[in-house]
Structures are given as C-alpha cells and as structure tokens.
C-alpha cells in the first residue's frame, strides 16, 4: 500500500541539501541580522521551495531557465505555480518596473535639487559597474551580456539590476539578484575602509552647513519631468526605468495624487514579496552550484568598492573647481543603496568632525545614484541588444 505513496526523500541530492542550508542562512540573516529581511526571507524560502525534489512548484528547461507557459500548461501539470509567476512577472519586466514606480513614490529628491552637482556623483559612482563588467568579461568566464548584468550589481540598486538581468542574462537572475540585495546590507561594512583610504583627514573634516536650501514645490514637480524627458531622449532604452521612477516621484510631489502615491506603496509591498519568492525559485542546486556563482559573489564586492571609489574621486575632482569645497565623503553616497550609503557618509563625517552633519547632503548623491544606475542599465541595453 505504500507503493501508492511517493516520498521525496529518496530523490534529495547533496546539492539540494546544501541549497536548503543556504536558504536557511538567508532567512537567518534576514530575520536575526535584519539584513534586507523584506527580500532575503522570501528569497530564502523560494530556495526551499525549489530544492525539494518532485514538489513540482517550478520546472526548468535544460539550460536551467524556468519553463515558460501559461494557465493551460499549469492545468496540464507541465509547469508549476512559480513558473507562472516568473512568466507573467519577471519575463515581462512588470515586477521590477512597478517596484521602481513604488520606490519613486517613496523618494524625496529635494537634496538632489538643492545641489544639482550631486547628480554627477550619482554618475561617477557607477565606476564599479564598468570596471567589474570588464573584469568579468576578460576573465573569460562570462559572456559580454552576462558580464554587464554582474557589473550592474555595483549600482547597488535592485530594480535596474533585475530589469537588465532579465533582459540580457536570465540564467544568472537568481544569483545576481540574491547577491545584489544581500550586499546592499553590507554597504556599511564595505564603504568606510575605502572612504578612509581615499580621503585625507582634512578632507573628511570639511564642514558643510547642516541644513540644505528650501526647495520650492514647483522645482519638485519639474524635476521628475525634466529628468525623465532628457534622460530618455539621450538614452531611449532607459525610458522604462527612469520613467517609472520619475512617474512615482511625480505622484508623490504633485500634492494632488496622494491616493495614487499610496497605491504605489501598496504595489511595492506586494511585488517585493513576489520578486523575492520568484528569485529564490531560480536557484535549484543544479543551476546554483557552479564556479560562476561563487565568482559573482566575489565580483560583487569589487563592484561595490569601485563604485565607492568612483563616487569619492568624482567628488574630489569636482572640488578642484569649487571655491566652497564639498566634503568628498558625500560622493561615496552616490552608490544608490538608499539610505544606507547616506548614513555611512553621516557616520564617517561625524567620526572626522563631530560637529558635521552630512546626512542631508549625502542624500543628494544617494538619490541621484538611483537615476545613474537606471541610465547605466539603459546604456547596456542599448549597446548589447
């Protein structure tokens, strides 16, 4: 009679066990260490889901991609529910873009507007993206498209990373997204040494007046519109990302569309959940366990470091032309891990000079970083597609 009963135990591979362990670690980091719990917990659980054999929650093609298909295939048992999620949510880019819309409704660009030069730090802080892109490709382990997706981890901004990876190298989506989001939480550990290495005590002590200029409502409203139109005319392929981010922000600042801004927030919560679970489900043992995954984990660190370097150097360079010097630390905040990077700048600034409050100034480049990363994603799409 036990013949009727099918057990999965027999089919567990060592790989599956290891993956269950990794999933467990992610969940632990999320819950106990509070590292991006909103994403790591779903990702971890997603890993559980796909590493229990013959559960049929997710089925894969030979090259390790989720088998595509709609409701019909599900009914026929060809694919699992997570395939559906992947197909409708990620394959179509809907989830990353709508999440970005939600992010836009939460962002306040007034520090950026108060000091427009911050936008430039947001750009120079993309250095890590391109450096790691080179290294990854020249290492010979990754195709040019895959390298681009690994590089963009250095932008330390989730949605653009997912967006680009879905388009260029879906097979790496699982590892890349996991690494991107888990390292964002490591920014406070990775950045300070770099900052101290590249700046003199004197530079770090530069005072900046505690509060920023009052930004008028009109400026707040014009900002998203201008940025979007200019950016997407110059880099058309970045229009979806920049557009959604700026649209969300417009809903926030217009002052007459609170209802929609709130809706953006709700969408955000729901979609982060779906993103996490479907990303986790992209990491079955057979896909995850190969040297490339480990390499990605290593390269990501480099990416973060070089991005910080880029931001700092950018700030130091700009300083050459300013009479009222700015504190180069805020350049490091151009890495768009919001708001960690800005907080790091604040703390470092305080260490060098307890009377110094850099937070507001650091938020400028920090926000700009999000725009920078979206542009980079668009540029890659334009050049590699």
């Amino acid at each position: 009679m036990f013949g009727l009963y099918e057990s999965a135990l027999g089919q567990m591979t060592l790989g599956n066990l290891a993956m269950l362990l990794i999933g467990g670690v992610l969940i632990y980091l999320g819950i106990v260490k509070k590292m991006e719990p909103i994403l790591l917990v779903p990702i971890g659980f997603g890993i559980f889901m796909v590493n229990l054999p013959i559960a049929g929650i997710m089925t894969y093609t030979s090259e390790g991609l989720p088998a595509l298909g709609g409701v019909k295939e599900i009914a026929e048992g060809k694919i699992g529910i997570l395939n559906l999620l992947y197909y409708y949510g990620l394959e179509t880019e809907l989830i990353p873009l709508l999440i970005f819309l939600g992010v836009g409704t939460l962002m306040d660009f007034s520090p950026t507007i108060a000091r427009p030069i911050s936008l430039v730090f947001g750009a120079t802080a993309q250095l890590g993206v391109f450096v790691v892109f080179l290294i990854a490709h020249l290492s010979g382990m990754f195709s040019i498209n895959e390298s681009a997706c690994i590089g963009i981890i250095g932008g330390s901004d989730g949605p653009p990373t997912v967006y680009l990876t879905v388009a260029l190298a879906p097979v790496l989506l699982g590892p890349i997204t996991m690494v991107a989001y888990s390292y964002m939480a490591l920014v406070p550990i990775l950045q300070p040494p770099v900052i101290r290495l590249l700046t003199t005590k004197k530079e770090r002590m530069i005072m900046m007046k505690p509060q920023i200029r009052k930004v008028s409502k009109l400026e707040l409203i014009l900002f998203p519109i201008i940025v979007f139109i200019v950016a997407s005319l110059l880099v058309p392929k970045s229009a979806p990302l920049v557009g959604m981010l700026m649209f969300g922000n417009l809903l926030r600042v217009s002052g007459v569309t609170e209802r929609l801004a709130r809706a953006g927030g709700i969408l955000n919560d729901i979609l982060i959940l779906l993103l996490g679970i479907s990303v986790g489900s992209l990491m079955p043992a057979q896909v995850f366990f190969n040297p490339r995954t480990l390499l990605i984990i290593g390269l990501a660190v480099l990416a973060f470091i070089f991005s910080t370097v880029g931001g700092l150097l950018g700030a130091k360079f700009i300083n050459l032309f300013l009479k009222e010097k700015i504190n180069p630390i805020i350049g490091a905040a151009g890495v768009s891990a919001i708001p960690m990077a800005a907080r790091v700048a604040q703390i470092e600034g305080q260490k060098a000079n307890p009377k110094n409050y850099l937070l507001m100034h650091a938020l400028g480049p920090n926000m700009a970083g999000a725009i920078g990363t979206s542009l980079v994603a668009g540029i890659f799409m334009g050049m590699l597609r």
Binding site: L119, A123, F133, L134, L138, V230, L234, V235
Partner: protein, 43 residues
C-alpha cells in the same frame, strides 16, 4: 570567447555617456532652479 575591443569600448563609452548625460541633466536642473528662485525672489 572574449571580445576585448567591444568590452573596452562599452565600458569606456558607457561610463562616459552615463556621466555626460547626468552632467547635462544637472546643468538643466541647476538653470531651471535658478530661474525659479529668481522668480520667487521677485514676488
């Protein structure tokens, strides 16, 4: 196989373009906000 030329070109041009675009934007924003501030000073 490794496409040296393309890789270097993309990373160079990409970084350049990225900075260029954001400089353009920042200049525009800067000018606009200056105009707006002037206008508000006037009132």
């Amino acid at each position: 196989m490794v496409q040296w030329k393309l890789a270097f070109l993309i990373s160079g041009a990409g970084y350049g373009i990225n900075i260029l675009v954001l400089i353009i934007i920042s200049v525009i924003i800067w000018i606009v906000s200056l105009m707006i501030q002037k206008k508000e000073k006037a009132q």
